[in-house]
Symmetry: C2
Subunit: 232 residues, 2 copies
Amino acid sequence: MMNFKQFKKKYQLKDSELFAEFYDLFEETIDIKNRNIAVDKLAIIINATFKLSASQSFSNMSLRQLSDETQISMGGLYAYIKNKQQLSLYIHQFLNHFAENIMIQVDISDDYQTLENTIKSHIYLSEIMQPWFFFAFMESKNLNKEQKKYAIQSELMMENKIMQAISKGQELKIYSNTLSPKTMATHIKPLLHDWYLKRWKYKQRKINIEEFCFSVMAFLNHGISLPHTLNE
Amino acid sequence: MMNFKQFKKKYQLKDSELFAEFYDLFEETIDIKNRNIAVDKLAIIINATFKLSASQSFSNMSLRQLSDETQISMGGLYAYIKNKQQLSLYIHQFLNHFAENIMIQVDISDDYQTLENTIKSHIYLSEIMQPWFFFAFMESKNLNKEQKKYAIQSELMMENKIMQAISKGQELKIYSNTLSPKTMATHIKPLLHDWYLKRWKYKQRKINIEEFCFSVMAFLNHGISLPHTLNE
DNA sequence: GTCAATATCGAACGAACGTTCGATATTTAT
DNA sequence: ATAAATATCGAACGTTCGTTCGATATTGAC
């Protein structure tokens, strides 16, 4: 399993690359024909959406604010998005697309390492795509059922991967079977969310991502109990 | 430490009692003079607010919807609330008031039990006040700094109680000191949130509140590792 | 340099919002 | 029974919202 530095080098794209993928994914619903122009402006629009949605909520962000922030007129915006709701859906869907592509590459060859690999990959991924994860988490509750189906696929995939890793581990007597894999996965998920939901808190406390991973794994392995009880 | 049945009997109030407390707390800012009328209508208004805010968000709930749901006219509503923002603040502040009163009673006489008592009390409390907790969690991000100060006092008190219990436990070598009390508290909090944020999920899986408490404590004590390693 | 294609603009529209307020209904006190 | 106090009503006001669209500016092809 690579560390964050290696992960970042392999997967983190520049805006010009990231939003080129974005444009290609939604090309047929975007009015702008010129790929270079579209990629630049999409980066501006989506990043402004993140900024404005973070300080209020997406539904409280008005398209006039977005127009001000991006320096693109109201009519201009509508060349890039079909409507406001679609803008939110684009973000969910692209994150889903991007995340699935990465999580599918997690190394599951070693049963003793699968869970840690999965968890670290998720944390690393949520770091390089922090605004996306933050947005998706905050706004997912405002999606209707049909939209949710398309938006949180990777979220479910993630949960499944954790469950399977635990399930296999329980079979091999690596992990406790006091709790079901589903219950354990349920308890683990919010630990991971904390990294991208409360990033400022960890920055302020000067806890870097590797320390955070260690912390999560330590808690996950022993809870609050004293570790290595056998050796004492 | 009592179980949930005992807790419920001791602390769960009927609407007529709960909103009487509510009315008394905010009496001077409510136009209605008749206490009985006010208590009845406040129960209707607040409960309708919970219902409408759950299916959308509070800021997406319009006062016209609230008027429809409560069968109280627009003008009528404004006899009970100063404005829409105040309604949200009332809910935060009352929950704060109510929660603090209960959490202050948690038994901390036995260092080996303090953490479990605190956690169970919080879970029990969040059960009998579920809509309040759900609302407060979802809407707290929309409060400005000044409002937050008044609204999340009990939340911080809760976190402090957990930290202190762990800190004391570390001193007494009950708990591992691999992680700081603050970090552990940070990891524990979302475990507790899950109960009131995803209640339908636990209902569906037929996990009752005592089972949930056991599950949280089990995870918290051993993580995913095999328990009782010494005895094997 | 011209013309067609593309990109951008911002005023305008109807709908929905929070809030107000004078009119009306109901309750309470005498 | 009457008057004063209290509670309720809903139309109306000014704003802001998402969205549209004809006009204008910019770009690319020949």
